[in-house]
């Protein structure tokens, strides 16, 4: 080693007068552009299970399949004078109608539209005067047998509508709310300060999703305070804890919390960090991934629902056209729905901008035969009758409840032609429709469906009139839930947390908490993994594609009847012996 004599190292305090000793550092950059290599032969153990799993985890292509069990009660009887409809009813008053017809040839006939009008696949392709000449309603095209009544799509929630206008009315008190989705969940004060109780109780027209010790931020202040702790849930009534919450009445005065006051609230988990733990509320927006031509719906073999079909023989003398036939009121066939096109989820993000974890089978009423009016949409909280009549939300004049779909019209093949008859057009790939009303909490990274989306259709009273007390523009009808979820994979039931720096592989959808100065997210479980809580998915993987499947009970409800949820029987646990 040589020494450069021109360089002098001088002690700090010797440099100049009053100078002091000081530490001197030399920065040595640790730049490495080499690494050790493996010196030996490479050996790879190949394992079929590992290879299968690798392929499975890499694949992003799905072929969803479901079995649809259509459960429908053909509830509403009505009357019609339009000949093709009249000749094809399930008659309920045949004797009287036949007698009336002797003196009044154009007498309306009473009955139910047959089950064909609601079935997933129509099979009445050869009914003279209705689906085949002469003087028929339409010329039946066999290819369209499965698309005359309903159309099926795969959709996914890709965005949120925070400004969606919503409306609810309490059937008991007639308290009503008009609010935007982002405002949260509506309530009215059930027991206010005027009753001098220990608690102020609030009742909601939908499940509030609160637990005790959480907080609510009300839409109106008491003084300057808007955040209150939930200290009680429910009343002695069954399930009331889901709809009623209370705060301790510490002696509030004034009329803020008077019985009957209405407002909206947002859930807050931690009052010391309201910004991050406040829930947000929105309506999911679904994007259509497949067109109607892509769907294939066929009878699911011999599978039928638990309910028996109902049919009867119509004697010629008790029919308007004097022809013997059988008529079907209700059927019980199950169907299998699959799609001719694949769904690649790789480029798709869900409404929280996370990798997509569920798709939806979306089924829409088409009503090609023209028995019904335009399709309306609303939520579970719009369903209860008010004063035994349909909720105002469903009124045909309420544009807020219109389902955004174009309608087409046609005239019948009868002489003279009758019409126009309207039906809903098909959706196209990329179309956007509304989904469920949901709550999202950043801190917990969870989404809750507050209220499910429903569609409703009513009969076109020009051609089929049902005698009820309801006004024609807001008649009783049938409703159904158009979106049925199918899980593709699951997010973990735990929350991962990582400091702001120094951690790799933090997913881009992680939420950054300023309070804890950390990222928070839920892991996405791999395919085939089911945790101890039973969360996870494990469905067939073959052909390099995923084949998720689901059994769906598709219910078509007559409005106003008591709705009971169907408890599906869970598959038995498979133990090691099996």
């Amino acid at each position: 080693m040589g020494i450069d004599n021109s360089t002098n190292v001088v002690l700090g305090n010797l440099r100049y007068k009053s100078s002091q000793d000081q530490g001197v550092f030399v920065n040595v950059p640790l730049e490495q552009n080499v690494k050790e290599i493996i010196e030996f032969d490479r050996n790879v153990d190949l394992n079929l299970e590992t290879v299968f799993d690798d392929e499975r985890q890499e694949s992003t292509i799905f072929r969803p399949v479901c079995k649809y069990s259509l459960i429908f009660k053909n509830e509403y009887t009505g009357s019609t004078t339009y000949t093709p409809f009249k000749n094809n009813l399930y008659y309920t008053n045949g004797i009287n109608n036949a007698i009336s017809m002797i003196t009044l040839p154009n007498t309306p006939w009473d009955g139910n539209p047959q089950y064909f009008e609601f079935d997933f696949v129509r099979t009445d392709n050869n009914v003279p005067g209705y689906t085949s000449p002469p003087n028929n309603h339409i010329n039946f095209v066999n290819k369209s047998a499965s698309t005359y009544n309903w159309s099926h799509y795969i959709t996914y929630p890709f965005d949120n509508d925070y400004l969606k206008p919503l409306y609810a009315i309490d059937p008991e008190t007639s308290a009503s709310w008009s609010w935007s989705a982002m405002d949260g969940i509506p309530f009215y004060v059930l027991e206010g300060t005027d009753l001098n109780g220990d608690y102020i109780k609030f009742k909601c027209p939908m499940e509030h999703g609160l637990t005790e010790d959480e907080f609510v931020e009300l839409s109106f202040p008491y003084g300057t305070e808007t955040i209150f702790q939930v200290t009680s849930l429910g009343t002695p009534g069954y399930n009331s804890e889901l709809y009623i919450f209370g705060i301790t009445n510490i002696g509030y005065t004034g009329t803020t919390f008077q019985t009957g006051a209405i407002g909206t609230f947002k859930r807050i988990v931690n009052s010391s960090n309201p910004t991050e733990t406040r829930s947000e509320y929105y309506v999911r927006r679904h994007k259509v991934l497949t067109d109607s031509e892509c769907s294939i719906i066929v009878k699911a073999g011999f599978d039928q629902t638990n309910f028996s079909s109902k049919s009867k023989f119509e004697k010629a003398v008790l029919t308007p056209n004097g022809i013997d036939r059988s008529s079907i009121k209700e059927g019980n066939q199950s169907y299998s729905l699959s799609f001719n096109c694949d769904v690649d989820i790789k480029p798709l993000l869900d409404n929280q901008k996370r990798p997509i974890s569920e798709l939806f089978f979306t089924t829409l009423w088409k009503g090609f035969f023209g028995w019904t009016k335009k399709l309306k949409q609303g939520f579970d909280f719009n369903l209860p009758l008010v004063n035994s009549l349909p909720n105002l939300w469903w009124d045909q004049t309420n544009f807020l409840s219109n389902f955004p779909i174009t309608q087409s019209q046609y005239f019948s093949n009868t002489l003279p032609p009758v019409g126009p008859f309207s039906y809903n057009d098909n959706l196209n790939v990329g179309d956007i429709i509304d989904g469920d009303f949901c709550e999202w909490n950043d801190f917990f990274q969870t989404e809750r469906v507050v209220s499910r989306m429903n569609h409703k259709f009513i009969y076109n009273d020009t051609y089929f009139n049902i005698p009820t007390d309801a006004p024609a523009q807001n008649q009783f009808g049938y409703y159904y839930k158009p979106h049925n979820s199918i899980r593709l994979r699951e997010y973990s039931d735990y929350i991962e947390e990582a400091p702001a720096t120094g951690v790799v592989n933090v997913p881009d959808y992680a939420f950054f908490s300023n309070l804890s100065n950390s990222f928070r997210w839920r892991d996405l479980y791999p395919y085939g993994y089911i945790d101890t809580s039973g969360i996870g998915v494990d469905y067939p993987f073959l052909n390099g594609k995923h084949y998720p499947y689901k059994n769906i009970v598709f219910r078509l409800f007559p409005e106003g009847i008591g709705v009971q949820n169907i408890n599906e029987i869970v598959d038995p646990t498979i133990d090691e012996c099996e």
Binding site: V34, I37, T123, N142, I296, L542, G544
Partner: protein, 269 residues
């Protein structure tokens, strides 16, 4: 300049200094590349999963929006020896009775009748020596149109099945759809050649069928080009998931009610 005591003397032979360079390192990335290559090789050895999923191909609609595909199967009545010069196409008829089934057998669905079926085989080429049968469609005798027949003189005539099929999305649909590979990267075929056979459950024999009545076959009803008379051509459209049936001789579309797909029992001499 500093010096040392080493002297280098002139020598007639070259001197070498061996410098051992033990390389245990490499430029970053090369090792990763080897790993990538290893993965690639493993994939190549194991093979990539092929997609054997099938799609449903339905019969393409005609101009009048009808989608039904119509088959008619004609059986020889054996009234004359097939070698007779007086045999004409009128000796073939659409009835199972020519196959030895009585109206009673057909009406009561006796087992030899219900065990009978039509077998449509789909090949990649009409050349017998090089063709491969890719799939088969079975048409059961329980489907089809009706003819009137008497099973006893004591009762009025009844309707019995006859081998005339009109298959569609609803009604008789067994054999209407073709289920074939969705992706074309494994087997890329969009043109098939369909042949027909009838399995007679009474005799246990397969009867081959031609697309032309045997007397009309040229040059000779027993010696002819099999590729021309034993097949109909089936074209698949992968975009619309539909198929069409064409005559092998005229390349004109068949299968509607006016020009059904006709099959005639072939009788060996």
């Amino acid at each position: 300049m500093s010096v040392n005591k080493i002297k280098i003397l002139l020598s007639e032979t070259d001197k070498y200094v061996e410098v051992p360079v033990e390389m245990k390192w490499d430029f970053t990335g090369r090792d990763d590349s080897i790993e990538e290559y290893q993965k690639k090789m493993v994939k190549e050895i194991l093979g990539i999963a092929n997609d054997f999923e099938t799609s449903r191909f339905s019969h393409n609609s005609f101009i009048n929006e009808k989608t039904d595909i119509n088959y008619e199967f004609y059986f020889y009545d054996n009234a004359l020896p097939i070698t007779a010069t007086t045999v004409t196409s009128a000796n073939w008829d659409i009835t199972y009775q020519n196959e030895g089934f009585t109206p009673s057998d057909i009406y009561y669905f006796v087992k030899p009748f219900t065990k009978s079926f039509f077998k449509l085989d789909f090949y990649d080429t009409p050349e017998d020596k090089s063709q491969t049968n890719y799939f088969t469609i079975i048409l059961p005798v329980q489907q089809g149109d009706f003819e009137s027949a008497s099973i006893t003189p004591l009762l009025p005539p009844v309707d019995i099945r006859k081998p005339k099929f009109s298959l569609d999305y609803i009604g008789d649909k067994e054999g209407f759809f073709i289920y074939w590979l969705r992706e074309r990267d494994f087997i890329d075929l969009s043109e098939f050649y369909m042949s027909a056979k009838f399995f007679n459950g009474r005799t246990g024999v397969f009867n081959v069928m031609t697309n032309t009545p045997q007397p009309n076959i040229t040059p000779n009803k027993f010696n002819f080009l099999s590729s021309e008379y034993f097949y109909y051509k089936i074209n698949l459209d992968y975009t619309t998931k539909t198929y069409e049936a064409l005559s092998t001789s005229t390349n004109v579309r068949d299968g509607d009610q006016v020009t059904p797909i006709k099959w005639y029992e072939y009788i060996n001499p």
